[in-house]
């Protein structure tokens, strides 16, 4: 992999190793005569690829462990995650090209690898520099940081980098506190400058890669898949190879005891993009899944709202310019543009449209519903008119059922796994005994739970609520018409509702308090709260999060009127 010669056949530099230890070109499968000498195959589980390790890395500790670095651990985590994404149908380039490059870039920028001797560090990072070969081709190889032995042409690089020899000094003093070599130092480092890796940050990496490739997975979906167990996160360390012993401070880094929060992952991702000095991301255009028009369509379906509402969402999107490529595409490091939360934004647009058409003041929407009901009686042609009341009843019922299931699932989460964790070798036996007792008790009471089996992981699905038009009970509202609540004016169908109320007259300064507005349920109408709650459930974020976006959209929409009437009534005439 440090073999930088161009392939004789295709001039690419993209090497791998055959079973026989020969180099072969990945692009054209040309096998060379160059071979590698295998010195050490101890902890190599993948026999396809073998490499040499030079340097004074201690192979065997007392417990059969080896030295490993924190970022190696994270590399493994990322690898697992991206493989899971691949299994979900994400394009394979994401792993081999995108994420891998992002990761390498990160290691370089944070001076953990791929650089010359960084100043002021006890542990020197080491490795070869730019190589276009695929780093991740060797999945089980724990060490990335070792100096791999080289062909003669690269011999001089060795002198520039240090080895584990200096690291071993550190490991002696820190081995008590962490299984990894640099666990304690990792935690002590100043977070701001270096942007150290954390478990939530692995998801930021994933999201960043997904965004780059413009995969049809939103951040809220990604996080939901994580919680549902489709993407490794909770106990990923159990997939670390045996030799990578985890203990002490490593636990603080790799053991997760809470589910990642949207805001955290989102903000970190942007921080990361800026840190890596990434260029402008690929454009988000109208045909992209992440475009508000597309996402609105999806969420309208999921919320069981009429398809006709899509016209309205598109109009709002167009009017306030949030469908523009420049608005949607990410420019890392650009502090002036607002960072776009595609999913929350789309949900907020729908909320605004509902407010436009139904007012949602706990009064008007019901009147309108009665009116639609009346009209429905005389309605002979086409589909039925949409009645807010019916929709509310159907959706609320389903939502309550799903929410209840979700709450129970959350109470039943199992956080621990088979792999035991202990802070020090001293309490290892205690930990193992406890584990055994837990397993016994689980068996005993599991039997008493009756025939209730723990449900198998549900297949990952993009839709949490689904409504079928084939249901004859009228519980699907997709095909319903909005004519029941619209009126004709000058040949154009407009909303009957002439009013609108703003969620907030003045937006907060986001930089100061972190939010645009502060949502308190008691201050707003029940219907509004219900609608927020619906999307809050679908996106697994707090209602206030969506409320912020709604405020932002409203202020864009009513910008002119606001400038005039800022101090006066909060109810505007459209």
């Amino acid at each position: 992999r440090d073999f930088n010669e161009r392939c004789a056949q295709c001039s690419e530099v993209n090497w791998g190793l055959t079973d026989g230890g020969r180099f072969y070109c990945r692009s054209c499968h040309n096998v060379t005569e160059r071979t590698r000498e295998v010195v050490n195959t101890d902890f190599i589980t993948n026999s396809r690829v073998q490499t040499i390790s030079k340097g004074s890395r201690k192979q065997e500790k007392n417990d059969g462990g080896c030295e490993w670095y924190i970022c190696e651990g994270f590399q493994l985590v990322l690898k697992k995650q991206v493989e899971a994404l691949e299994a979900l149908g994400v394009c394979p380039q994401m792993k081999d090209e995108i994420l891998c490059n992002f990761w390498r870039c990160y290691l370089q920028k944070s001076k953990q690898a791929y650089c010359k001797r960084p100043a002021g560090e006890t542990i020197k990072a080491l490795s070869v520099c730019e190589s276009s070969t695929d780093v991740d081709s060797d999945p089980e190889r724990p060490s990335l940081l070792h100096l791999l032995s080289l062909s003669e042409s690269e011999g001089d690089l060795q002198t520039d980098c240090s080895f584990a020899s200096s690291a071993s000094k550190v490991s002696e003093s820190t081995s008590v506190y962490s299984g990894s070599v640099d666990g304690s130092l990792y935690l002590m480092k100043n977070q701001k400058e270096k942007l150290n890796m954390t478990m939530p940050m692995t998801l930021s990496f994933c999201y960043m890669a997904l965004l780059w490739v413009r995969e049809p997975i939103t951040l809220s979906e990604l996080l939901r898949f994580v919680v549902e167990g489709h993407i490794p996160y909770l106990n990923v360390f159990q997939h670390f190879p045996e030799k990578m012993k985890l203990c002490g401070l490593d636990l603080k880094i790799f053991c997760v005891e809470s589910w990642p929060v949207y805001e955290e992952v989102f903000n970190k991702m942007h921080e990361l993009a800026a840190f890596l000095d990434l260029p402008r991301f690929p454009d988000i255009t109208e045909s992209c899944f992440l475009h508000p028009d597309m996402l609105c369509m999806k969420y309208l379906m999921e919320a069981n709202l009429p398809d006709e509402l899509h016209n309205w969402t598109c109009r709002v999107v167009k009017k306030i310019g949030i469908g523009e490529v420049d608005f949607l595409t990410l420019m890392p490091g650009n502090k002036s543009t607002r960072k776009v939360k595609y999913d929350v934004l789309a949900a907020a647009v729908i909320v605004v449209v509902l407010k436009l058409l139904f007012l949602l003041d706990d009064h008007y929407e019901w009147l309108l519903s009665e009116l639609a009901e009346e009209r429905n009686k005389n309605n002979t042609e086409g589909g039925p008119y949409f009645e807010f009341k019916k929709w509310y009843e159907v959706v609320k019922h389903s939502l309550d059922v799903e929410q209840k299931k979700l709450d129970e699932e959350r109470a039943k989460y199992l956080w621990r796994c088979e792999k035991p964790l202990f802070y020090s070798v001293k309490n290892k036996s205690k930990v193992l005994k406890r584990r055994q007792m837990v397993v016994n008790l689980q068996n005993q009471f599991g039997k008493l739970s009756g025939s209730v089996q723990r449900a198998e992981k549900p297949n990952p699905s993009s839709f949490q609520l689904s409504w079928s038009e084939e249901n004859t009970d009228g519980s699907c509202f997709h095909g319903h018409s909005l004519k029941g609540i619209l009126q004709e004016k000058c040949g154009v169908l407009t909303a009957m509702n002439p009013d609108y109320w703003l969620c907030t007259v003045k937006l907060c300064n986001e930089k100061l308090c972190g939010h645009l507005a502060h949502y308190r349920e008691v201050e707003f109408p029940q219907s509004y709260h219900f609608v927020l709650g619906l999307f809050s459930f679908l996106l697994r974020v707090q209602p206030s999060y969506i409320h912020d976006e709604v405020c932002m959209i409203e202020h864009k929409l009513f910008n002119k009127k606001l400038c005039k009437k800022l101090k006066y009534n909060t109810v505007l005439r459209k």
Binding site: S258, L441, Q444, F445, G446
Partner: protein, 412 residues
């Protein structure tokens, strides 16, 4: 602030616990077991700062579920308890005790005894000293089981004795149990506490072997030592013992005095009043009146004919002698506002007459004296009684009419 909503291990387990609690309250044992299965992994986390840790939670919840769950077997339960014993050394003896109680409730006396013996031999550094109280309890319960064995042997002996057999082996065994029981029972009752069953058994042993002095002393201690919590039963036991021993009325009365103070509604108040009424001492008779009035303040005594007859006898006697009318007046003073409605309503008159003629007779007498001949109760009952041509009611009517002026002085 968004982190407040973060779902983490702690919150997840808290939610789990509240689901368990709901299920327990609704007696949904399967559901409780389901959630408990998810909760047990809390054991692997450090909760040393919390007031009640997961190990204690699991012990208590698990015990509840296993007790009630239909599928449960003693074997499962025992297995569970053994695990709980290893979980918290600070609770070891407590868990042992609860296990023993459960075994006893299920009739497994021998297993209970074995567990007690095992627990007794437990030693664990300074914990042994810290859990000294629990250890005493364990020894006491073993003593109790020894007592039951003794009791069984005693009965066998008595049977054989009737048949003319003398069984030396049984007798020796019996004495052996006595010694073991006595040693432990004696120890526990030294510690201030409520030890009714231990005291009773110990006294029983002592009486059988003729050590009445010791028995008396034990009961005295139990009743009168101020370090012990106020316990009505202590006085009851003492009284019963003294009665068995044929002690003087004076000592019997003094034994019941504190019982009256603590529990004026106790059933022994009838005996107490009877003894007091007959006393030659004025103070005692005065006390007797107080005692019987106090007892009848309680709803549980409303229909107790015996109590009413005691009161009736005493007030009748006072009215006839016309001495100490002020006694009645004093007692009646605090009761005249509510006793009429409580005891002497027209509704009660009807009901008492229908259900219990003797009761209505006694009550009518008291009512007639306290409230005069014109009171509802007396009028109704005496009228009914005369109508039914029952002799005593006629006599009653005459009596009250004759003594009406006296009665008016009371109610005035």
């Amino acid at each position: 602030s968004s982190n407040e909503h973060k779902l983490n291990f702690k919150k997840s387990k808290e939610a789990c616990l509240s689901y368990i609690q709901d299920a327990l309250l609704q007696k949904q044992w399967k559901r409780a077991a389901e959630f408990l299965t998810c909760y047990v992994e809390s054991l692997e986390k450090d909760y040393s700062r919390e007031h009640i840790g997961p190990s204690e939670m699991i012990w208590r919840i698990g015990t509840e579920i296993l007790r009630h769950h239909s599928q449960n077997s003693m074997k499962e339960f025992n297995c569970f308890m053994e695990q709980m014993k290893t979980l918290g050394v600070k609770r070891y003896l407590k868990v042992c005790l609860e296990h023993v109680f459960h075994l006893l409730c299920n009739g497994q006396i021998d297993e209970a005894y074995q567990n007690l013996s095992l627990a007794e031999s437990w030693r664990f550094g300074e914990q042994t000293a810290i859990q000294d109280k629990e250890m005493k309890l364990i020894q006491a319960y073993r003593g109790l089981l020894d007592y039951y064995s003794w009791s069984k042997q005693k009965n066998i002996l008595l049977e054989h004795g009737e048949d003319g057999f003398s069984d030396l082996a049984v007798e020796q065994e019996m004495h052996g149990y006595f010694r073991k029981a006595a040693v432990n029972l004696k120890e526990i009752i030294k510690i201030p506490g409520v030890w009714d069953i231990f005291v009773k058994c110990y006294v029983d042993l002592l009486e059988f072997y003729g050590d009445h002095n010791e028995a008396h002393q034990v009961l005295n201690e139990y009743a009168y030592n101020s370090k012990f919590p106020a316990n009505p039963n202590a006085h009851v036991y003492l009284y019963q013992f003294l009665k068995r021993q044929g002690e003087s009325k004076k000592s019997l009365i003094s034994a019941l005095k504190i019982l009256h103070d603590i529990v004026p509604s106790h059933e022994l108040m009838i005996d107490f009043n009877t003894m007091l009424q007959k006393s030659k001492k004025r103070k005692k008779r005065r006390l007797g009146l107080e005692v019987i009035f106090a007892a009848l303040d309680y709803a549980g005594w409303k229909e107790n004919a015996k109590a009413w007859s005691c009161l009736a006898r005493q007030v009748k006697q006072i009215v006839i002698s016309e001495k100490h009318l002020d006694w009645i007046k004093q007692e009646w003073n605090s009761r005249k506002d509510w006793w009429p409605a409580f005891h002497f309503s027209r509704y009660l008159a009807k009901r008492n007459w229908q259900e219990n003629k003797s009761l209505s007779y006694e009550k009518a007498l008291v009512a007639g004296i306290l409230l005069g001949k014109d009171c509802k109760y007396f009028k109704y009952v005496s009228h009914q009684g005369c109508k039914a041509q029952l002799k005593r009611f006629r006599i009653l009517k005459k009596f009250v009419n004759r003594h009406n002026p006296v009665c008016l002085r009371i109610s005035g």
